[in-house]
């Protein structure tokens, strides 16, 4: 999500799935949308029926490729070369959308003369410290005029956080620009220089994509973009799960900003997420480094001592984030109620401070080192889904206690009993000290609540039935655990126990449980109302985040969701907008569910109008066809002096397009009327990122951490120099070009299974559709290792060896990289040792290694050896 957030301002898909039907071309990359998001793929097919060109770039030929007009094969882990090639093509062939680029992006902005590019430093950017493997972004900053009004802002914190605020940038004053785009220090020229080596020949050499195929993709995408056309990009974890994942997504934003495709119908970037509410669990972050609404979690590594220190460090004086104090104070009011006062800094000091990277992979390293006693796995199954999963199972054997809550008896719950380590005798149950609780969970149809889907859309689902036996909803478990803890601490006067006593925890509405078996089920509606926010004085819900205050008069648990439970004339105590089910009058569908923020469906939609506020030709055409009298998608109406249109305008409603930015203004006053990216300090889309990315201001190609080849683009820098690497026993890596592990392995998903299988391998229907693990290899590769279709193969990495049946298929092809033949292998990762159907755990093969921005792992490109297996004694 930082890939999108750093470039555009918010870490969410910029568009909606339905909107894809109006694209003139769709590039799908890092995604097998037809098989992994089949119902969303309907809109790709509808676009195709309307004449759109569908482009698919992927290491495997999948059903998505079969439906595409052009399929471009590329070696896993080389997406930035392909996208960099597109950027170079757009710049050198002058295919960029000039008016959009000059007005809406930072192309004209000047960067300080201290900046050095990878072209100057053999593949590194300026500011790299090899000792810490970290960049100092000081030299990437804008060349800005000094602010006339001095501010007391401390230096922005540099970290690897996902928070939007850290990524908004902090300006000292107006940025110097060159609208002619000719100054060598302007972003446009820096971009030209940086991508000069990403030629079609380089793409062919590194990606293995035939030059002609690459050029076809570039030409098609450019032809489908401009004032009268728009093209969309769809991606999924094929892009994210790399040590360069965030920069890959950044590269796609550069393509779309140059082509003028962001904020416009039929355009945008569709992030295809794989869990029902993975977007929601980032917005409402059960993530170590965030608080709701993308506020940073307080950190001991930054100047975060008091609430004022925190705000001084985090708040950006310009752009929308100037409002952050309102969001933080309202959050603390929601959590600590009466105990949150101006005098005690709203209870800020009760929030724990982080002291490093506490994400998934370091968590299991700490666990393995005996530094974690208790662990809760709720709706996640690391024994199968975790990277280097064997490492993670062994680590769990060192826990004192483990709580698992799930629908079925998952591999995580039974690691002490059924894991391969127990089967082989490596671990003995008698010697595992872990006390394990397995709690039966309710199914989604048995509880109220909202999911936030891949297009930021909150949809309410309703309790239809009681859960069986002692199964309980997820909120039941947490609510009643919290209530017990509050009771246990009720008498304590220790300072450290006060937040538990102060925590507001009033979610019972007994009248909602009449007629249901579980009489003490907490109310999801009341929790949603707290997230929406309310006035402290009378408890009435706020209509949206614009009403939030930093004086303690409002409480709000998640400012970006504010408005989801707003009062209406009929329901002054709040209407559940997430439960709205139409009527749907056009493809925008404002009456179906609630999209954050403020029910906007296409983000940054100010850009769907030209600088003067009039619709671009494409928008005018769409509105004529489908718009019920609207003149465009979102545009300035001179008569009413407001922004209006088919969507909720993502812009100050009364700010005219001709408005000048106030160089001394704070917040949005600093922006002019042509600044669609209002979360950013400068209001512009960031082609170049002066801050916010841990591994460089521009995407550059580095090989996957494990790779069969030397980096042909920057021979001096093999892999992401800032990548997170964990050299611990049990997590050995293969050296570059290792003859023992010559093949590239990508893991992937099947239509018929879900993730680690805990929601699919227990279902006979799905298990019979896909009963067995397999490994896809090419006929050439099969010939080389003398394997036949359906043979048992052994797949090995330095971490593990597993078995799977061979699927010899032309869907997989060898790549010739720099004259060297590289075989590619694909494996679905849904199997484990529990369930109706079982199989080896594919994630036993992968390693713990991470992207420096977000610590995502690299399951989409690592190396392995494949051989015909010896018969197994069963």
């Amino acid at each position: 999500m930082p890939g999108l957030g750093t470039s555009l301002g918010r870490g969410g898909a910029t568009t909606a799935q339905q909107d894809l039907q109006h694209a003139d071309a769709i590039l799908i990359m890092g995604s097998n949308m037809a098989e992994c998001h089949p119902v969303g793929f309907r809109f790709v097919m509808q676009a195709k029926l309307r004449g759109a060109r569908i482009l698919h770039a992927d290491p495997r030929f999948t059903r998505t490729s079969a439906m595409a007009d052009t399929y471009a094969p590329l070696r896993a882990g080389t997406d930035i070369v392909f996208l960099g090639g597109l950027i170079r093509y757009i710049l050198e062939e002058k295919r960029y959308f000039h008016d959009y680029v000059v007005n809406y992006t930072n192309a004209a902005s000047l960067i300080t003369a201290d900046y050095r590019d990878t072209e100057d430093l053999d593949g590194l950017f300026s500011g790299f410290d090899p000792a810490t493997r970290k960049y100092d972004s000081e030299s990437w900053r804008y060349d800005s005029e000094p602010r006339r009004e001095p501010t007391n802002q401390p230096k922005p914190a540099q970290d690897d956080s996902q928070s939007f605020s850290a990524r908004a940038g902090q300006l000292t004053g107006p940025v110097r620009t060159d609208p002619s785009l000719e100054n060598p220090l302007c972003v446009f020229q820096i971009l030209r220089k940086h991508y000069s080596r990403y030629t079609p020949e380089m793409v062919e050499r590194v990606c293995g994509t035939p030059r002609e195929t690459f050029l076809k993709v570039a030409e098609t995408l450019c032809n489908a973009s401009g004032p009268d056309r728009t093209a969309a990009i769809c991606y999924a974890v094929g892009w994210t799960q790399h040590t360069t994942g965030v920069q890959t997504i950044r590269a796609s934003t550069i393509v779309q900003l140059l082509l003028g495709n962001i904020g416009r119908p039929g355009g945008g970037i569709m992030a295809l997420r794989g869990h029902a509410s993975i977007q929601g669990s980032t917005d409402i972050p059960t993530l170590y480094n965030l608080l709701p609404g993308y506020l940073n979690c307080p950190s001991a590594l930054k100047t975060h001592e008091t609430v004022n220190d925190y705000l001084r460090t985090e708040v950006s004086a310009t752009g929308y984030w100037v409002n952050m104090p309102r969001f933080l104070v309202s959050l603390l009011k929601a959590w600590y109620g009466d105990q949150s006062t101006r005098e005690n800094g709203w209870g800020y000091h009760w929030l724990p401070k982080i002291v490093g990277d506490h994400s998934h992979m370091p968590m299991f390293i700490a666990m393995d080192e005996g530094q974690i006693d208790g662990f809760m796995a709720m709706g996640q199954n690391p024994a199968v889904g975790g990277q280097n999963a064997g490492y993670q199972r062994r680590a769990m054997a060192k826990l004192k206690w483990l709580v698992v809550k799930d629908l079925y008896e998952t591999e995580t719950a039974t690691f002490w009993k059924d894991s391969p380590e127990v089967q082989s005798g490596e671990l003995k149950p008698e010697a595992i000290p872990t006390e394990v609780f397995l709690l039966p969970a309710a199914a989604s149809a048995e509880m109220d609540g909202t999911y936030t889907n891949t297009q930021r859309l909150l949809q309410w689902h309703e309790r239809a039935s009681d859960p069986p036996g002692d199964a309980r909803s997820d909120i039941w478990f947490t609510y009643h655990l919290g209530a017990r803890l509050k009771k246990l601490y009720a008498e304590s006067n220790l300072a450290r126990d006060l937040p538990i006593r102060a925590m507001t925890w009033d979610y019972l509405a007994p009248e909602e449980n009449e007629g249901w078996a579980v009489a003490d089920e907490p109310s999801a509606r009341l929790i949603l109302k707290e997230m929406n926010g309310y006035f402290v004085a009378d408890g009435k819900p706020v209509t949206g985040f614009a009403e939030l205050k930093d004086d303690g008069s409002t409480a709000c648990g998640a400012w970006i969701y504010s408005g989801v439970y707003a009062p209406t004339e009929k329901e002054p105590d709040g209407h559940n907008f997430a439960a709205n089910r139409g009527p749907v009058v056009d493809w925008v569908g404002l009456n179906w569910g609630f999209a954050w923020p403020a029910n906007r469906r296409v983000l940054y939609n100010r850009a769907s109008a030209d600088p003067a506020g009039d619709p671009w030709p494409k928008e005018a055409r769409l509105a004529r066809q489908f718009g019920h009298g609207a003149r465009g998608y979102v545009y300035w109406d001179e008569k009413s002096k407001t922004w209006t249109g088919l969507d909720v305008p993502d812009f100050p409603p009364k700010k005219p397009p001709s408005a000048k930015g106030d160089p001394d203004g704070i917040g949005l006053d600093f922006h002019d009327g042509k600044s669609p990216f209002l979360m950013k300090a400068d209001g512009k889309g960031w082609l170049f990122a002066p801050s916010g990315a841990a591994d460089g201001p521009l995407p550059a190609h580095y090989e996957p951490y494990e790779s069969p080849v030397r980096n042909p683009v920057y021979p001096q820098v093999q892999s992401n120099p800032a990548a997170k690497v964990w050299n611990v026993p049990g997590n050995e890596y293969a050296p570059v070009g290792s003859p023992d592990y010559p093949c590239v392995l990508s893991t992937y998903r099947l239509t018929e299974h879900h993730l680690s299988g805990s929601m699919s391998r227990w279902l006979p229907w799905l298990s019979s559709l896909q009963p067995e693990l397999f490994v896809e290899i090419s006929p050439e590769h099969a010939g080389q290792i003398r394997a036949k279709n359906l043979d048992w193969l052994e797949i090995s990495t330095p971490r593990a060896t597993i078995r799977a049946k061979a699927l010899v298929t032309r869907r997989i092809r060898p790549f010739t990289i720099d004259g060297q033949v590289v075989h590619h292998v694909g494996m679905p990762w849904h199997w484990g040792y529990k369930g109706v159907v079982t199989g080896d755990v594919v994630n036993d093969l992968s390693s713990l290694v991470g992207d420096p921005n977000v610590a995502i792992h690299e399951a989409k490109a690592f190396v392995c050896r494949v051989a015909v297996a010896a018969p197994r004694n069963v």
Binding site: V39, G245, R273, S277, I278, D283, L287, Y288, A300, L351, H358, S359, A366, D373, F375, A377, M378, Q380, Y408, E409, W416, P429, A431, E435, V436, F437, L438, L439, P440, S444, A445, T450, N453, T454, L458, W460, H461, E462, R463, A464, S465, G469, D470, A471, S473, D474, T478, Y479, L481, G482, L485, A502, M531, V584, W587, W592, T751, M759, L763, A855
Partner: protein, 203 residues
């Protein structure tokens, strides 16, 4: 119609359909009748597919059945919601199997407990498990809570910082669960001072 007779009926129509198809007869009325029967007398409840993030609309059909002196709602069918602007009534294989995700004999219905060093599960009352988990959380937190931590200031000099946290308890999960759960869980975890908090969304 009781469960067993309904199943017999469907099995019967299935057989009949096979026979009739060979004769080239119009099967539409028979199919319509079968579909009607399946959800006859049920109420429809709006739902959302719990699998991937496309967010397909679902309709859960429930029938009220008498059980132990009260009525209980029983899920008899889950299908696509034709009104949804995203899915238009369609579902993929996983979404189409949502009924079996909920109504499945393999589902857990009682708390399972494994004592340290044990080789088998035991069944335990829910209340007992909740109390025990709360006690373990408190014990671990109270033993390992720290108010301060030795860090560095901006110049790199050692400095004692207030952190108010406990690093011995961790949590994983959230992306498959409701926003409301994520919210109360994170609120409780932060208020307890816990910082190892993660889910699948590390992207």
């Amino acid at each position: 119609m009781s469960d067993s007779t309904r199943r017999q009926f469907f099995r019967g129509t299935g057989l009949a359909a096979g026979t009739l198809a060979g004769l080239g007869l119009d099967l539409k009325p028979a199919r319509a009748a079968a579909a009607t029967l399946k959800i006859q007398g049920t109420t429809e409840v709006a739902s959302v597919c719990p699998y991937c993030a496309v967010g397909c609309g679902q309709i859960v059909s429930v029938r009220e059945v008498a059980q132990a002196g009260r009525t209980r709602k029983e899920i008899v069918n889950i299908e696509g919601n034709p009104d949804s602007p995203i899915s238009g009534g369609t579902l993929c294989p996983k979404g189409s199997a949502t009924f079996q995700l909920a109504v499945n004999p393999a589902r857990l219905t009682r708390v399972k407990y494994r004592a340290p060093g044990a080789t088998e599960w035991q069944e335990k009352p829910l209340d007992w498990a909740m109390d025990r988990i709360a006690t373990l959380m408190k014990e671990t937190r109270d033993t390992h809570f720290r108010e301060t931590w030795l860090g560095k200031d901006l110049e790199g000099k050692p400095v004692t910082k207030t952190v108010n946290h406990c690093t011995r308890i961790a949590s994983l999960g959230g992306a498959t669960m409701d926003n409301e759960w994520n919210y109360v869980h994170l609120k409780m975890f932060r208020s307890l001072g816990l910082i190892w908090l993660e889910n699948q969304a590390r992207i």
